[in-house]
Structures are given as structure tokens and as C-alpha cells.
């Protein structure tokens, strides 16, 4: 089976979906001739031509808005927003239009647009190329929010998103775009939107995470296993909305302890929802406070990126804290 990076898996996924279905249209800034600034759309322009791989003017609200109109007509647009930070100029189109079209039209018009966008830190992108805005979108009914952490899932979840009937914010952890390779089948396949993935089974505490944080939590868990004999279960949420409540609650019922790790600003980040979910539905199973390791409640700094972002050692420390509680 071919080994691919997460980025290559996405590229592969786009090619697969475009080959299967001529309703699928890719559009965005620099996605055509240039193949995307991260090269996620590399080769698509040559293979599918300018009508299906559209270089657009510099307007994210235009990109998302036009994609909505295309979807209303019956196409399946897959716009790329160059950085998740630049979804904000399109915020109104995403939050007021894309997410609500089906509802407000009484079900007459659907908008199955899949917005792909790289997010998160780890490439020294500073304030405006590093943000993790997933919580804005998980707080917006009508949207699904999906974040893969492995090449296999990236291709499979993208397929499921594109074939689905709902708008999806498909966020790609750019930090691990190229950092490792793994098996990715040539054939097309779907990884369903919804179910979480147990990245590692464990019995002492549950770590909930997604995207680039999964790898980092694995490192921290390794250290905790080696040095403290802690058996951590790592739950890769994959789909943030609708969340796999059952997997979250089952894991925490088993281990009795919960740690949530995310890069976004801690306050009101997505991890708050997971914590609140547990505190509402599994409190009696808890043997320790629910801890969150998040990004700082500051903008995302350039030089001091490493201060902002969760680090394996910070996660390790948090594991120790949670385990120390009696």
C-alpha cells in the first residue's frame, strides 16, 4: 500500500473525488496553476482544467459565497481557504448563510459545500497563519466540523465530507502536513463523519484530542507510561461536531480521569465543551478534576510560538496532575 503524508492523502482524496463526480469543483486562492501554497491541490489543474480548479480573486467571502450559489444549483464545491485565519472575512457567509440554508428554506435548499482549510501552529506562521478557530464553527449549528490526524483518515474523512449532504468545515493540521507518512489505500473509501478513533487504549486516564495534538499526546503518554507506569487512553475525536458522545463518555467511565488537549485558546475552546459534556453526563465516574491543556489566552506569537502551543511536556505534566489527584 502506498505511504503518504497527510498532505498527499488530501491531494489523493481530492483527485479521487473529482474523478468520481463531475459536480466536484475545487476553488480558492492559488489553488490552480500554483497547486495551492501548501501544494494540496498540486496537479489538479493539469488533470481537471480551469473550469474545475478555479483560481479565484482574493476574497474569501466571495469564494464561500460563490460556492454556496454553486451548491444551490447542484454542484459540490470544495473551496480552499488558504489559512483558517482567513475564514474570518468569510465568517458571515459561513455562519449566516452556509450553515443555515437548509434550515431557513424549510429544507428546500441544501448547501453541501466542504471548506478545506489548514489550521494551527507549528510552522512559525505568527499571529495570522497559526490560529485554531474550530470552536467558532462547532458553536454554529448546521455545520459539521472535521479534523483528521492521520493520512488514512484525511483521505477517508474528506471523501465522506464531499459525498455527504451537509456543509463541512474540514480543518487540516498543517503542522503535520508532511511530518510523517502512513498507509493510504489507492482505492476510494470513506471514514464516516461522527465516530471518534481510539488512537491508543488505556485504563488510567482518557486524553481527548484531535489534529496535530494527537501525535503530541502520544509522545506525552509514552513518557508517562515509561516513567510513571501510567496507561493513558488517547481518543482522537476526528469529528468535532457532531461529537461522538458515546466514545467520550465510555472512555471516561472506564478510566475515571479526563484530560483534554487542544491548541486553540483555552477559554471557550472546544475542550470546554468536552469537559462540560463529561461534567454533565459522567460526573459520578470521575476520580479527578477534568483538566484542559490548551493554547494560551493570548494571540499567537511568532518567536514565542513554543510558549503558546501545547508541548508534550506540558501534556505530560498535566497527566501527572490528573493522576496525582486522589
Amino acid at each position: 500500500m502506498p505511504q503518504k503524508t497527510l498532505l498527499q492523502a488530501i491531494n489523493d482524496g481530492l483527485k479521487t473525488e473529482m474523478s468520481r463526480d463531475d459536480r466536484v469543483i475545487v476553488m480558492g486562492e492559488d489553488v490552480g496553476i500554483n497547486g495551492g501554497v501548501f501544494r494540496a491541490t498540486d496537479g489538479l489543474y493539469d488533470q481537471f482544467g480551469p473550469d474545475r480548479v478555479m483560481d479565484t480573486p482574493l476574497t474569501e467571502t466571495g469564494i464561500v459565497g460563490a460556492a454556496i450559489g454553486m451548491a444551490v444549483y447542484g454542484l459540490k464545491p470544495v473551496p480552499e481557504i488558504q489559512f483558517a485565519d482567513y475564514t474570518y472575512p468569510a465568517f458571515d457567509q459561513i455562519v449566516s448563510e452556509l450553515s443555515m440554508f437548509r434550515y431557513r428554506s424549510g429544507g428546500e435548499y441544501a448547501c453541501p459545500v466542504v471548506i478545506r482549510t489548514p489550521y494551527g501552529g507549528g510552522i512559525r506562521g505568527g499571529l495570522y497563519h497559526s490560529q485554531s478557530p474550530e470552536a467558532y464553527y462547532t458553536h454554529t449549528p448546521g455545520l459539521k466540523v472535521v479534523i483528521p490526524s492521520t493520512p488514512y483518515d484525511a483521505k477517508g474523512l474528506l471523501a465522506a465530507a464531499i459525498r455527504g449532504e451537509d456543509p463541512v468545515i474540514f480543518m487540516e493540521p498543517k503542522k503535520i502536513y508532511r511530518s510523517f507518512k502512513a498507509d493510504v489505500p489507492e482505492e476510494d473509501y470513506e471514514v464516516p463523519i461522527g465516530p471518534a478513533r481510539i488512537a491508543r487504549e488505556g485504563t488510567d486516564l482518557s486524553i481527548f484530542c484531535y489534529g496535530a495534538m494527537v501525535e503530541l499526546c502520544e509522545k506525552a503518554a509514552d513518557k508517562a507510561a515509561e516513567e510513571d507506569g501510567v496507561s493513558a487512553e488517547i481518543v482522537d475525536l476526528r469529528t468535532l461536531y457532531p461529537v461522538d458522545e458515546e466514545s467520550v463518555l465510555n472512555s471516561v467511565k472506564k478510566t475515571g480521569r479526563a484530560l483534554i488537549v487542544y491548541e486553540a485558546h483555552k477559554t471557550c475552546g472546544y475542550g470546554a465543551e468536552i469537559s462540560a459534556l463529561i461534567a454533565e453526563k459522567a460526573l459520578e465516574h470521575l476520580e479527578a478534576p477534568i483538566k484542559r491543556v490548551g493554547g494560551l489566552d493570548t494571540p499567537f506569537p511568532y518567536t514565542l510560538e513554543y510558549v503558546y502551543m501545547p508541548h508534550p511536556l506540558r501534556v505530560y505534566n498535566a497527566i501527572c496532575d490528573v493522576m496525582a489527584f486522589e
Binding site: 459565497g65 450559489g69 444551490v72 457567509q93 428546500e108 435548499y109 448546521g142 449532504e165 451537509d166
Partner: protein, 368 residues
């Protein structure tokens, strides 16, 4: 008449030829269409004033912008309206009962009572649901037209929006996309000279809004928006250009908002009565009537009959609509997604289990 100013019926009277292949039947149809809108508005406002519906929008004085455009389009052309263009589905033959259902936001409303009145949706008439966010629908029309072009179809997508909307983000993104991709889209900029209280002079630094098109390489034109035949003619030509692959046109339909912004608005706070009176003189229905008179196809009886029919149609529909109750409360949970996620199902179940706390609990008043 300059190159960029389309007017057919002179304001006083005049020009007796039937333009652009219009038959007498066409003219009558348009005239009746405008009266239907007028009657609809009068009734809606009454319903609102007597507390039978919560809110309404009227389009007094802007009937020609809706009827003239609608008459020129094909039924399979896509319409992305603002809230003031319900005359278009009315003209396209939307069920009056459905129209009324929307005013009440009842169980029969095609928007399922989810939107405020004046946010109609009719997929069978390609009249696409709009939000209340000013200007956001314009780019949807452009995207739809890009899809039409991709499919090599000969439909046209059109969108309506106001002078106020010309300041919004998506006016800009839309005109820009239209200039770049040249899709078959028509922009109807209904310049009724007000955005709630803001006169158009304070909305933007030029007075002829169609000129905004130039900066995007899009064809722009100004039309007498109170002259239904001019509106028809200009739309017809622009649609043909679009179908011929020649791209977009921005049509500024110059008119005046004779009524209040909505049932919540009080225009005496910000404009002079004289100004409004002056524009009442230019009423598009009266203007058409004079035209029909000169063509000798107007009589008092005809007029009375048209009004009578419109009013009856309305009364029947409203009586019916008023008997239909609210949408079932469970319907609030539907259509958020193609399939209801289990967490939402659970929220529904929670209410179902209790069925308490489900009474109306409003205190405020809608202000605009």
C-alpha cells in the same frame, strides 16, 4: 434619453407603440401583477396593524421593479432576492395560500415558520431563500451563474438588492467575480433611495449607482424603475446578453420607497412628507394605467375587476392561512442537517419528556 438611462413610458404620457414584441396581453398581465402586489401590501399591513401577523415589509412604489423584471425572465431562471421582492414569486404564480402561510409563519409555510415574514422560499419557482443579512445573497447568484456556465446551460441567475446593499461586502465580491468569470448573472440594484433612514446621498459618494459596475468591468445601466416597460425591456436585453455568453449586467432600477422601511419603521423621523408626496405622483401603477388608457385597453370596469379579483384571492388565502396553526414544535429540530444528529435528537427528547416550558415568552418589540 441618454445611453445609460432606460425609459419607455414618458412620465406624462406618450409613446404609443408596443415595444419589444410585447402584446396587449403582456401589458395587462404586468398591470395586473402590479396591482396584485399593491393589494398584497395593503392587506399585509392591515394584518400587521391589527396584530394578526407580527411583522411585514411592503414595496409601495416599487411594484414595477418586480413585475418588469419577472415578466422578462424565464421560469427556469434563478432568483436570489432580498426581502422586498415577494412580488416576483407572486408574479411567477406562487400559491397565494403559501404566500399567506409565510406571513403567518405557520405549518404550511415553505420556510416552516423559521424566518420572519418577507423571507419567502419557493424551490418550484426557483425563488431562493434569503437571509436577512443585507447583500449576502448577491454572491449566491454569481455562484449559481458560474455553475450554469460550467454546465453550459442557458439559464440566467438574477439577484435583487437595495442601494444600502451596495455598501455591503458581497456587493464587492460579487461584482468582482462577475467581472472575472463573466457568468450569466443580472444584478438588480433597486435604488429606492433609502436604507432605513439613510438617504442614498449618504450611502455612497456617487448618485448614479450603476456606474459602480465599471470599476469591475461589468456592464451597467440605469433604468426608470417606475416604468414597468422600461424595466422589462432592459431586463430582457441584459438576460439575452447573459445567455449569449456576454456576461453580467448591473441594472440600477431607480425608484423610491414610498412606504415605511417595514411595519416597525416610522419614516417621519427622518424624511419630509413633501418628498414622499412627490414620488407618489410618479406611482408606477398610475403611470401604466395612463399608458393603457392611451392604448385604449383600460376601462374603469376592468380596473375594478382586477382589484376585486386580487382582493378575493387574498381574502380566501388569508382566511385559510389563519386557520392553519403553528408548525409543530418538534419541527424546530428538523433540517438543521440532512439527518438529525443524535445530540439534537436528545435535545428534542428532553423537551418531549417534559413538554413544559414551551409557552411564548416574548417581551420586546421588533424595531425595524
Amino acid at each position: 434619453m441618454s445611453d445609460n438611462w432606460v425609459q419607455v413610458m414618458e412620465e406624462g404620457a406618450a409613446s404609443y407603440d408596443l415595444p419589444a414584441g410585447l402584446t396587449e396581453a403582456d401589458l395587462k398581465q404586468m398591470y395586473e401583477g402590479m396591482i396584485m402586489i399593491r393589494a398584497y401590501d395593503e392587506r399585509a399591513l392591515k394584518l400587521q396593524r391589527s396584530g394578526r401577523i407580527g411583522f411585514c415589509v411592503t414595496s409601495f412604489g416599487e411594484e414595477a421593479t418586480q413585475v418588469g423584471t419577472a415578466h422578462a425572465l424565464r421560469p427556469d431562471d434563478w432568483v436570489f432576492p432580498a426581502y422586498r421582492q415577494y412580488g416576483v414569486p407572486l408574479y411567477r404564480g406562487a400559491s397565494m395560500t403559501k404566500m399567506a402561510a409565510h406571513l403567518f409563519g405557520n405549518a404550511d409555510d415553505s420556510a416552516k415558520g423559521r424566518q420572519m415574514p418577507a423571507h419567502y422560499t419557493f424551490d418550484e419557482h426557483r425563488f431562493v431563500s434569503a437571509s436577512s443579512v443585507i447583500g449576502s445573497q448577491i454572491i449566491h447568484a454569481v455562484g449559481c451563474a458560474m455553475a450554469i456556465k460550467y454546465r453550459k446551460s442557458d439559464e440566467v441567475a438574477v439577484t435583487y438588492f437595495g442601494d444600502g446593499a451596495s455598501s455591503a461586502n458581497d456587493f464587492h465580491s460579487s461584482l468582482n467575480f462577475a467581472g472575472v468569470y463573466k457568468p450569466p448573472v443580472l444584478f438588480f440594484l433597486v435604488n429606492n433611495q433609502y436604507a432605513i433612514s439613510l438617504p442614498v446621498e449618504k450611502q455612497t459618494g456617487i448618485s448614479e449607482l450603476y456606474k459602480k459596475a465599471e470599476g469591475y468591468g461589468v456592464h451597467g445601466i440605469r433604468v426608470d424603475g417606475n416604468d414597468v416597460i422600461a424595466v422589462y425591456k432592459a431586463t430582457r436585453e441584459a438576460a439575452q446578453r447573459a445567455r449569449d455568453g456576454k456576461g453580467a449586467t448591473l441594472l440600477e432600477l431607480f425608484t423610491y420607497r414610498v412606504g415605511a422601511h417595514s411595519s416597525s419603521d416610522d419614516p417621519t423621523r427622518y424624511r419630509e412628507k413633501d418628498e414622499t408626496a412627490e414620488w407618489k405622483e410618479k406611482d408606477p401603477i398610475e403611470r401604466m394605467k395612463r399608458y393603457l388608457q392611451q392604448l385604449n385597453i383600460w376601462t374603469e370596469e376592468y380596473e375594478a375587476e382586477v382589484w376585486e379579483q386580487c382582493r378575493t384571492k387574498l381574502s380566501v388565502a388569508i382566511t385559510k392561512a389563519e386557520q392553519i396553526g403553528d408548525p409543530p414544535w418538534e419541527s424546530a429540530f428538523e433540517n438543521v442537517y440532512a439527518e438529525m444528529p443524535s445530540a439534537l435528537e436528545a435535545q428534542k427528547q428532553e423537551l418531549l419528556d417534559r413538554e413544559s416550558g414551551l409557552e411564548l415568552n416574548n417581551e420586546g418589540e421588533f424595531p425595524l
